[in-house]
Amino acid sequence: MAKTVLTFGPQHVVFPEPIQFKLKVEDEFVVGAEPVIGYVHRGIEKAFELNELKKNIFLAERICGICQSPHSTAYVLGVERLMGIDAPARARYIRVIINEMNRLHSHMLWFGLLGDAIGFESYFMQVWNYREKLMDVLEKITGNRVTYSMNAIGGVRRDISDELQKEINRVLDFLEEALKSVDGVLRDYTMVKRTKGVGVLTEKEAKRDGAVGPTARASNVPYDMRMLGYDAYCDLEFKPVVVDTCDSYGRAVVRWKEMFQSIELIRECLSKMPPGDIMTKSNALPKGECVIRVEPPRGELFYYLKGNGTKNLERVKVRTPTFANIWPTITMLTKGCEFANVPVIVLSIDPCISCTER
C-alpha cells in the first residue's frame, strides 16, 4: 500500500490555534508524522530584552492566554533571585492561590474541550458553566477575569481580604460538589472507548522525549515542578498525581484528580496564610543568571534569565510546556494510531500553540 501524506491543520476544528502535522498514512493508520510550527511566532524573547523590567511582567503574562499567571510567577521569581530579594510570606501564599485557581479553571476548560471534541456537547456546556463561577471570583480578587496581572517584582499587587477568603471557600465548596456531580464522564461508555488505549506513551518514551505535566504523570513519571517548593509550596502538603495507564484516558484522570488537589491546596493556603505585608521594595538591579522552573496546568515551564546590572535583561529564554510535549505527541501518533483518533491524541496533551512559539 502506497503511503499518502495528509496535512492535519493548521486550521482544524480541534485547534483553537494554528499548528500543522504532516501525517503519513497507510489505509486508516498513521505511520509517520512531522510537526510544522511557526505560524504565530511573535518574537517575545526579543521583546523581553528591549523592554524594561516591570513592563516585562505584562509581556510574560501575554505569552499564554490561559496559564498567564505561572508565566509572570516564573518571571518575577527569576528577577527576585537576581536582585537578591524574597517576596513576603503572605504574597507567596497569594501567588499559590492564584496559580492553583488558574490550574483549576484551565483543567475545567480542557474537560469542556474534550467533551466538545468527542461530540459530548452538553458536558462541555456544563463544565464551562461551573468554570464561570471561578472566573467571577478571580475577577473579584484581581480585577481581571483572564489576565490577572497579580504578580509584581517583590510580591503581589493586591491582598485577599477576609471577606474574599470566605467567598473563595464558598466557590470551592460549590465547585467540589459540582465536579463530583459530573464525574460520571470518566465512566461514560463513549468517553472510555475514545480515550482508553489511545495515544500510548510508555514511561521510557516519556522520559526520552521529555514529556511534561499531565502527559508525563499519566505515564508514571512523577515529574512536577511544585516538588521544588517554590513560593509557598514548600509549606504545603503536596504529592504529585501519578497514574500508570500511559494513555489519553490516564491524562484525563490525572487532570481530574489535580482539580480536587488544587481545591485542597487553595483551602490549605487560605488556612495557613500569615498576616503581613504583600510587597518587598527594593532598588537593586538584576545581575547574574538563573533558571526558574514552575508548574502551570500543562506542565513544566522553564525560564532562563540573565541580567547585566541594568534595567534591561541581557537574555530571557522561555520554554513552554507544549514545546516539550510536541515530540511525545509525534511518538504517540507514529505508533500506527487510527486517523480518526488523531484529534483526541493531540488534544490529550492540552496544546497551546501561541505560547509554544512565543
Binding site: P35, I37, G38, H41, G43, E45, K46, E49, L50, N51, E52, L53, K54, K55, K204, K207, R208, D209, G210, V221, Y223, D224, M225, M227, L228, E289, C290, V291, R293, E300, F302, Y304, K306, K311, N312, E314, R315, K317, R319, F323, A324, I326, W327, P328, E357
Partner: protein, 121 residues
Amino acid sequence: MENDIVVTKEHLLEEVKKFAEKDARFVIATCVDLGEKLEIIYHFDTLGEKPNLVNLRMQFSQDEEIPSIASIYPCAALIEGEIVDMFEARIKGIPSGLLLAPDSPKAPLRKKKGEKKKEVK
C-alpha cells in the same frame, strides 16, 4: 549557576550520551550571544527524588559548525532548529526555517550594535 559542566564541541556528544545512559530528561537548550562567541547551555534533569537540573555549557565561535544532539535526544531537533533561526548558528543536519519565514529579520536574537532599549524615566 549550580551544577554547571563546561564542555567543548569535540566532547559534547560524549557527555550527552552519559546523560542518556542515566535516563536523564533533556529539558531545553538556551543559546546566549556573548559578543565574540555564542554559548549554548544544554539543560538536563536527572530525575531523582526531586527534579534536579544539570547544565552543560559549550562556547563556540559563530562560524564554527557544531554537532547536533538530536541523534541521542530526538526531541532536541526542535530547539536546535530554533537556535539556527534565532542566532544563525551552524548545527550539523539542522535546517533553518522552523519559526521564521524567509522574509523575517535574520538572526533576531543576536546582539546588534546601537540597538535602542527602552529605559525607565
